[in-house]
Symmetry: none
Subunit: 132 residues, 4 copies
């Protein structure tokens, strides 16, 4: 089981709706069970630096089957995973906005959102993941 | 002038229709005037190695305002641009599938397609670019 | 709207004047709306390690439409963006010296300065951006 | 002995004049004796993919004290240096447009030009280097 393009688009669409609601354009990306990109969308006006971040937040969430917000807690200076952001050729994102997508309890993909504050990114990612 | 998300999606949709017609799932990506990703879609069953290639074919077409198929002609051993594929941190793709998107004669973005033979990629890219 | 070479040179020239005033040679770079380099100058005696930093401070300021000094506040350990410096292939600079260039309220490019203390870099970047 | 910023600017200015004469906007870069960037300029309308190439043509010319056009002859498939473009983290450019800058017979820097055909790049680089 993984994530189809149609499912990825539903997830992105839900994220876009939430982003529009809070008035902050976002980059939204979905990866499959292999951590590989299924679809990405940059809303008009969203930061170009967030393209890479949205894709890699999704990657990170699937790579470790965890929300990046939770990974962040253990990845600060002094934490048990501090320095993990240097691994995987710079693909590990340790701040809010990446959430695993689950089917019957198993992680089968992830969504990553970037374009606003950590709180905004997280809210959009949650709204996106909720429709999966 | 650049490429909006709505325009990028129309381009991708047209590419998908052509890919379905020829029966070969593809990765399709669109970049804006700055060479930055606007949207990407991987059709179900398309190669994961083609994610990066589709995005970078689009990048290359905008970076040099040329179809990657045409750049390829000059980039073979003995050609005037041989070795260009080593530049830009490995982002320059020198085989068919990337086509500039134009408005009033100016290149304002590009589409990149990867997932089949060079001929198939090119056919899908042409169908995609045609609706812009 | 973006940044022309003539405009970039005016920005760099203003930065150089300020750098000369404070007696610290600097690297100064300007990027356009797409985050791509328009012009760079390394003043005689300026650090060679600051070439990359100046270019990437400018990139970062445009990539997130923010002064790198402000991004720095949120990117320390414990902050909402901690770890962002690992993204974008190492191009995100999270210390003072990068400032967006605006036209009619919109960010259309950025200037990046590196070669001294954070305070010096920031002072030179401010003087440079002021003439845009 | 190396290349000052003032000298680099004279070299770039001469290159721009030649580029304007032939009607092809260019990226022009100058590096010092250490192979490190002194100054770069992208003329309005020049390819964004040529930013990196111009800087690295200059780097390559100083790195091996040779015109990239000449290095190209030995770097084609079958040549004694074939594969050299994979070295130095992708910084070695093996096509025309990079020329060493000499003082009293010694190479003290280099200029790199990218934005047109190999012939155009070479013509602009020669005009640029001639004023040094």
């Amino acid at each position: 089981m993984s994530v189809t393009l149609a499912q990825a688009r539903s997830v992105i669409e839900a994220g876009e709706a939430k982003a529009a609601e809070i008035g902050q354009p976002m980059n939204i990306a979905v990866v499959d069970a292999g951590g590989n990109l299924v679809a990405h969308a940059r809303m008009d006006g969203a930061w170009i630096g967030s393209i890479d971040i949205s894709i890699n937040k999704a990657y990170t969430s699937r790579a470790f089957d965890i929300a990046t917000k939770d990974l962040a807690e253990h990845s600060q200076s002094g934490g048990q995973f501090f320095g993990i952001h240097a691994s995987n050729r710079g693909r590990v994102m340790i701040f809010a906005g990446g959430i695993p997508l689950r089917r019957d309890g198993a992680v089968v993909g992830a969504v990553g959102v970037s374009g606003g504050t950590g709180e905004q990114d997280q809210a959009v990612a949650e709204a996106a993941a909720a429709v999966f």
